[in-house]
């Protein structure tokens, strides 16, 4: 028997595989495909305080081995989430994580505070790294001070553990990670999407209604691994790695590189049961490689 569980300190997961925010709806969308309780957990779609329209379509464009999206966090807002969705998720025996968004530092705190009044959330993931909402793709995670302030404000209003999600669109990801850690973030998750552009040569227009968008999928895996490598050596809190994971060996690579757990994003679109397949694959991999506890992999990279 392989022990797939991982312990993040503030949270014990059945297995290291979480579904990533924005690629797993509110979780319910995946119920037709498998029992959600088989997951390590899942992160729901980004939540602002109020409902949001999202960006103008087209919102998706494929690129070589990748996908650019500019959804722009269309969503129902935190009140409707707590009223309509959370009750359906709260009793699930898996880690349900909310993805907290904000137009400014105060909104992050307001959303976190509102969520904290409800039961059923294992953690809050602060999405300070979405490239799709502000002009020019800017976000708090591009600046250590803004990161520190945002995390600090949220920590003051919630007792739910906080994960801070970082942006790859930075010169030095370690300084942002350290700022989040100092402000009390109990884990770091990364990477969010890479700011990108696609152009239609026929119409001479951007292919996305919102001009720029965020690149995800296998194309970005080497960049994500590099950042997990850098961040896991810079902070003491656990790192949750993501970016282009489509298989169990991808998970093994992220864990070896330094991730305590992982998230699977774009792959959920291609195979609705991708997470399940990956968890099963991980168990097979561990067995065939004589690994008894999957958590042993974390940070085992030999340099």
């Amino acid at each position: 028997m392989v022990d797939l569980s991982v312990d993040l300190g503030f949270l014990k997961l059945k297995n290291p595989v979480l579904a990533a925010s924005g690629t797993f709806g509110y979780g319910l969308e995946f119920k037709p495909f498998y029992n959600l309780e088989l997951l390590g957990g899942f992160v729901v779609k980004g939540l602002y305080f109020n409902p949001r329209e999202g960006n103008k379509p087209p919102r998706l464009v494929e690129t070589p081995s990748g996908l650019i999206n500019s959804i722009g966090l269309q969503g129902i807002g935190v009140e409707a989430f707590c009223r309509e969705i959370l009750p359906q998720l709260a009793d699930l025996d898996t880690a349900v994580i909310a993805n907290v968004c904000g137009e400014d530092e105060d909104e992050y705190a307001r959303v976190a505070e509102y969520l904290s009044r409800h039961n059923g959330l294992a953690a809050l993931e602060l999405n300070i790294s979405c490239p799709n909402v502000r002009e020019g793709g800017r976000c708090p995670a591009q600046n250590p001070e803004a990161t520190y302030r945002t995390v600090k404000k949220v920590k003051q209003v919630t007792s739910i553990p906080v994960i801070t999600k970082l942006s790859p669109n930075v010169t030095d990801i370690t300084s942002v990670a350290r700022a989040a850690e100092e402000a009390g973030s109990q884990a770091i998750s990364l990477i969010n999407t890479i700011l990108a552009l696609a152009v239609d040569p026929e119409t001479r227009r951007p292919k996305l209604g919102n001009v720029m968008g965020g690149l995800s999928g296998p194309a970005i895996k080497p960049v994500a691994l590099r950042m997990v490598f850098q961040v896991s050596r810079a902070v003491k809190v656990p790192v949750i790695g993501m970016g282009g994971i489509t298989s169990a060996t991808d998970v093994v690579e992220f864990m070896i590189t330094g991730a305590a757990a992982v998230q699977v994003g774009t792959a959920n679109f291609v195979d609705p049961d991708a997470c399940l397949r990956i968890i099963q694959g991980l168990e097979d991999w561990a067995r065939s490689h004589g690994v008894e506890r999957i958590s042993e992999l974390t940070g085992s990279l030999k340099i």
Binding site: G22, P58, L67, P272
Partner: protein, 273 residues
């Protein structure tokens, strides 16, 4: 979440049993009993076109027909994904996700009534299944099938030999009515008025049809296309602006559509304007 969403299946072993081809167009016949059983006209599949990560996403393709555990799709090669798909051979197994979306409404009151089904180019794909079911429901479907040139209306005889009244048009007059399919519909409307109009095709065709329907007070449902990430409501990538219950907002084409009542559709030109 609506309950029909639970009626979707991943069939990783849909066996391709027949490939028919005419120019850029392909008619594939699969054995896929579960999806076939669940399918209704206007629904679609998400088809995996590669075994690797390139192209990454599945491709949305309408269900052309579903009958006795077989499932058919009709598609045009439009880019890399459909090109890869077109290379599949009988005996290959494909990975299909479906049936997806809401489908066309076949209402009891259609019985004994005339129904127009208008398809432009590859937009003909879902109309065969629809017309067949309309027939079964006692309605009288007439298919309008337009294309740029004769090569773009390859399903003509296929439709006719299924006993469906089929009026064709080509932009260059090489087959059937010389002109746009919308003009053919207008011409026909002078003679007979349907109780309902279904349409699937290029945006410009459908926008023009919507005008015609509004003028003549013909209710209808149109099947829209949009670029899809998942096909089952998880990505919010496929939205279109829809006017429903007095509110206008972005709705998911894959889940709330692809078929929408024509009066709910906000045409893209208006949206950009």
């Amino acid at each position: 979440m609506s309950s029909e969403i639970y009626n979707m299946v991943i069939d990783r072993n849909a066996r391709l049993v027949k490939v028919e081809n005419s120019g850029d167009y392909f008619l594939f016949t699969f054995e896929s009993p579960e999806i076939s059983r669940l399918a209704r006209p206007g629904q679609f599949l998400m088809v995996k076109v590669s075994t690797g990560v390139q192209p990454l996403l599945r491709r949305p393709i309408s269900i052309h027909n579903a009958e006795n555990s077989i499932l058919q799709i009709f598609f045009q090669v439009a880019g890399e994904g459909t090109r890869l798909l077109s290379l599949k051979k009988p005996g290959d197994t494909l990975d299909l996700l479906g049936p997806l979306g809401t489908g066309f409404s076949i209402k009891p009151e259609f019985s004994g009534r005339l129904i127009f089904c208008v398809g432009g180019g590859r937009g003909i794909a879902p109309l065969y299944f629809l017309a067949r079911k309309l027939n079964e429901a006692g309605a009288t479907p007439v298919i309008f099938y337009g294309g740029r040139t004769a090569a773009d209306v390859p399903l003509k005889t296929h439709l006719e030999s299924a006993g469906l009244e089929t009026l064709t048009s080509t932009d260059d007059g090489s087959l059937g009515f010389h002109g746009l399919v919308t003009s053919l519909v207008e011409k026909e409307l002078a003679a007979r008025k349907p109780a309902f109009l279904f349409a699937c095709g290029p945006e410009a065709m459908m926008e023009r049809l919507a005008e015609i329907c509004q003028q003549k007070r013909i209710p209808g449902e149109f099947s829209l296309e949009s670029i899809m990430g998942c096909g089952f409501g998880a990505c919010w990538g496929c939205v279109r602006k829809i006017r429903r219950n007095g509110r206008t907002g972005y709705l998911k084409v894959c889940q709330e559509g692809p078929v929408f009542p024509l009066e709910q559709i906000v045409w893209q030109e208006d949206e950009n304007g």
